[in-house]
């Protein structure tokens, strides 16, 4: 089943003007996570995806300094916080079978939070109500626009 982006409900559109504000936005979402949420990130190279994930980690009480890019490893796990965080980066992958190969279904667990960079590569497989889509648009050198959407309003609590 394919989900088209126009079927998603936009929950909020917000701009940040520096890394610190991007981390704060991530923090807001991280601290509201209860477990089972999947944050799907889309945005070009240099959009600030890893920076945003540092904020989510901070909201889960994971030291933001230790969160870095999982491009090479494809998935970094962080278990030192209030909920486990699995940070995926699909940059090096070409299709869904490759993420299945590394044990994708084993990671889907209601007790953890999953964040996926380059999530657009597996868009049609991310159809659950627990997926929060975060698209980052580069407006200028420092300004980023975050368009946050989901299947329905169920995940609105993440933005409280």
């Amino acid at each position: 089943m394919k989900v088209k982006s126009e079927e998603l409900v936009t929950l909020i559109t917000i701009k940040t003007s520096c890394d610190k504000e991007t981390i704060e936005l991530g923090y807001r979402i991280g601290k509201n996570c209860k477990g089972g949420e999947i944050v799907a990130l889309c945005g070009d190279l240099g959009a600030g995806k890893t920076c945003f994930v540092k904020g989510i980690g901070k909201g889960l009480n994971i030291e933001d300094r230790v969160i870095n890019s999982p491009t090479f490893l494809i998935c970094q796990s962080y278990t030192s916080g209030r909920l486990p965080l699995f940070h995926f980066d699909l940059y090096r992958l070409s299709d869904f079978s490759e993420i299945e190969d590394i044990g994708w279904y084993d990671y889907l667990n209601s007790d953890s939070v999953i964040v996926i960079e380059w999530a657009e590569k597996i868009r049609e497989y991310l159809i659950s109500d627990n997926v929060l889509w975060v698209t980052i648009n580069i407006i200028s050198e420092n300004i980023r626009e975050f368009v946050i959407s989901a299947n329905n309003k169920k995940l609105k609590y993440l933005l409280d």
């Binding site: 890893t50 230790v66 870095n68 491009t71 494809i74 796990s77 278990t79 490759e98 590394i102 044990g103």
Partner: protein, 329 residues
């Protein structure tokens, strides 16, 4: 004493046999050309569960190359973290199976400590303490190494690894993969004149994401990317990354009053890095140890050095151990 080592933490599947005095008897890595040929097909770059398919083959070839059988092995070690959990588990479970069926002791090795001791595979070995710079596609960090399992982390990357920055810059310039090799080739004989930022200049940690984004911004602003401009950009980028790595390593030596430097990880094969660190070391009265390329990139021989040390000294890891994907010191 013969130790079998298994490494499957990320893309590469590798086995090695290490014997007394850390001597390497045999080493096989899935990325080797002869493995591709002998295995009957190309091993995908992203191995993940391919480890399962290729590991038995690599294991057997490694014993054959060492001209020994499993009976001649006195202990088995494997990387149990950090890495991709599914990949780590293949190597760990294979090792456990061998240990149980052949009644051999097991030792679980940390992938990063393996990089520190790649330097022991060479004839000239560093004395403790030494500063270790591990710079690869997945890691960039500085450690103070006082002995086996006596490590202190000094600084690490807060975002991209150095090797990853090379790959991403090469990709955005469209000059090929792997990025380290492509950029090195493009920058050859060129002195960079483009000013790029030095993120976290005063700190012990590294940051390469901002450097990558700075290159991206320049590329976006430039209408016509000529080859000369690309060369200049590659040279400027490479010089900056090398400067950052060298600066922070030398600074760590001074702070901890350490004379020996070990550099490992894929980025250690960069010629400019080797050249710059060697020059500075001479003027600062430091000694640099850089293992040959096949020991710098992911391999089981370096894991075997650590396993050999501990198993020789009667340490072993209980077989109930599981993979530790986020194991850090």
């Amino acid at each position: 004493m013969n130790i079998l080592a298994i490494e499957t933490s990320c893309d590469d599947t590798s086995c090695a046999v290490i014997t007394d005095n850390y001597k390497l008897l045999s080493l096989n890595i899935s990325s080797q050309n002869d493995i591709h040929g002998n295995f009957g097909g190309v091993v995908p770059e992203i191995a993940s569960r391919q480890h399962l398919r290729i590991l038995p083959f690599i294991f057997q070839k490694t014993l054959q190359d060492a001209k020994i059988s499993i009976k001649d092995i006195d202990g088995i070690c494997a990387t149990i973290g950090p890495g991709l959990v599914g990949s780590l588990l293949v190597g760990l479970m294979f090792a456990k199976g061998l240990c149980i069926s052949n009644k051999k002791p097991f030792f679980g090795v940390n992938h990063i400590e393996g990089h520190f001791f790649a330097s022991f595979l060479e004839e000239k070995r560093p004395d403790f303490p030494f500063i270790a710079l591990v710079a690869s596609g997945g890691h960039t960090a500085l450690y103070l190494v006082k002995g086996f399992r006596n490590y202190k982390i000094i600084g690490q990357t807060r975002d991209d690894a150095a090797g990853e920055a090379f790959d991403k810059v090469a990709k955005l310039l469209g000059i090929g993969y792997p990025g380290g090799v492509a950029i090195e080739k493009f920058a050859e004989g060129v002195r960079g004149s483009i000013n790029l930022p030095y993120p976290l200049e005063k700190e012990k940690d590294f940051s390469f994401s901002g450097l990558k984004t700075a290159v991206l911004t320049i590329v976006k602003k430039t209408d016509n990317l000529s080859d000369d401009f690309k060369k200049n950009l590659c040279a400027s980028f490479q010089e900056k990354v090398v400067k950052i790595l060298v600066d922070k390593t030398v600074r760590a030596c001074k702070k901890y009053k350490v004379k020996n430097i070990v550099i490992s990880g894929g980025v250690a094969s960069n010629k400019l890095l080797r050249q710059e660190i060697t020059t500075i070391a001479k003027s600062e009265d430091l000694e640099v140890f850089i293992p040959q390329k096949k020991f710098c990139t992911d391999n089981a021989a370096m894991i075997g050095v650590v396993g050999y040390y501990f198993l020789k000294n009667n340490f072993k890891t209980d077989l109930s151990v599981s993979a530790i994907p986020d194991w850090s010191f």
